[in-house]
């Protein structure tokens, strides 16, 4: 437990949270919109009058295990993000950094921004989350953090439906592997990892010019263990028109 002095009031308070290392959530909001010269990045689309990204940030705001949020925005959108976060009273958003041309590059930008604090041992765990997944539940984030503390790395995922099947095909488009329901899971975000592992994995990925489809891929290739925490369909990523309509329904369902 750290003892900290409040110089303004002449009081001394004990802040239990300061004793534990930080848990930082990196929210990826760089998207594609502005890069394509479009007026709106989908994370700014309103659902019931509130932008998608604010629902996402509020989930982390409500989660007590998250100490800080680092937002990764597209070039030119940082100010807009800052204004939105401020208007929505998102107090855990401490910094907004500019992302890169790909998801992996944006993650690397965020890790560079945190490098000195990770190397200094100030940050314990890092969660990486897609800004376009607005309905992740705070309880699920908490479970994920606990799993990552125990295992070193953990991701949210949901099993396929029983009747669903995923197949791997070869160059001749012939099936070479089958993954039936319950054995195959859909990976989601957030994905949580020990900060030092994550930084080492991304440094190595840069050396090897490796770009994973998700964060966990960069760690798995180096043999770091990654656990799975069961999630559900409500943690949807808004990618299609139908997802937007579903997001509107979920918003009503959760009373957000």
């Amino acid at each position: 437990m750290h003892k900290i002095s409040n110089v303004h009031k002449g009081e001394t308070v004990f802040d239990q949270r300061s004793a534990a290392k930080h848990v930082v959530a990196i929210v990826l909001a760089a998207g594609q919109g502005r890069r394509m010269g479009l007026p709106i990045n989908k994370i700014f689309l309103p659902i019931h009058g509130k932008p998608v990204i604010i629902y996402t940030l509020e989930a982390f705001e409500r989660c007590p295990v998250i100490d800080e949020i680092l937002l990764v925005g597209a070039a030119g959108e940082e100010e807009q993000l800052a204004k939105l976060a401020q208007a929505a009273h998102c107090q855990k958003v401490r910094r907004i950094v500019q992302g890169g041309p790909t998801r992996h590059a944006s993650e690397q930008c965020a890790l560079e921004a945190l490098r000195s604090r990770i190397e200094g041992g100030e940050i314990d765990l890092i969660l990486i989350h897609d800004g376009a997944r607005p309905f992740v539940l705070p309880e699920r984030i908490q479970e994920l953090v606990e799993a990552a503390r125990a295992c070193g790395g953990a991701i949210l995922a949901m099993p396929l439906q029983e009747e669903e099947l995923i197949v791997e095909v070869d160059e001749q488009q012939a099936i070479c592997r089958r993954f039936a329901g319950q054995r195959a899971w859909r990976a989601q975000t957030p994905q949580a990892f020990r900060a030092a592992w994550l930084l080492a994995a991304y440094d190595r990925a840069r050396q090897d010019q490796f770009e994973g489809t998700d964060t966990a891929a960069s760690l798995e290739r180096l043999g770091y263990p990654v656990a799975v925490v069961e999630s559900d369909q409500s943690n949807l990523k808004i990618t299609t028109a139908y997802d937007l309509l579903q997001a509107e329904r979920l918003c009503r369902h959760y009373g957000l």
Partner: protein, 101 residues
């Protein structure tokens, strides 16, 4: 009616394309792909049901906001009332027209 353009994956084009999202009041009314013109549209009856269901909640929120404003600055609140009394019904009828048409 508010319209926003953004990039979404189109299931028919099989790739990310520019879409226009049309809103009626606070609700999504129609989403159209610019490339293939495929449209996802909410039936007017569904939209109207959504709108009517949320009206009591919006009225409560408005009352709360008005009370807060009246307490914070009574003079400003009173001076804004005539404009609001005229504008609110116009705003509601405009919203209703967007939802129903």
């Amino acid at each position: 009616m508010i319209a926003c353009q953004t990039e979404l994956d189109c299931l028919y084009c099989g790739r990310p394309t520019v879409h226009t999202v049309f809103y009626a009041s606070l609700y999504i009314k129609r989403i159209v792909c610019h490339r293939c013109a495929h449209a996802v549209e909410k039936p007017a009856a569904v939209l109207l049901r959504q709108y009517c269901r949320d009206l009591p909640w919006r009225a409560t929120a408005l009352a709360r906001r008005l009370k807060h404003e009246a307490q914070a600055d009574p003079l400003l609140f009173v001076s804004s009332l005539p404009r609001r009394v005229v504008n609110k019904p116009i705003e509601l009828s405009r919203e209703l027209a967007e939802v129903c048409l």
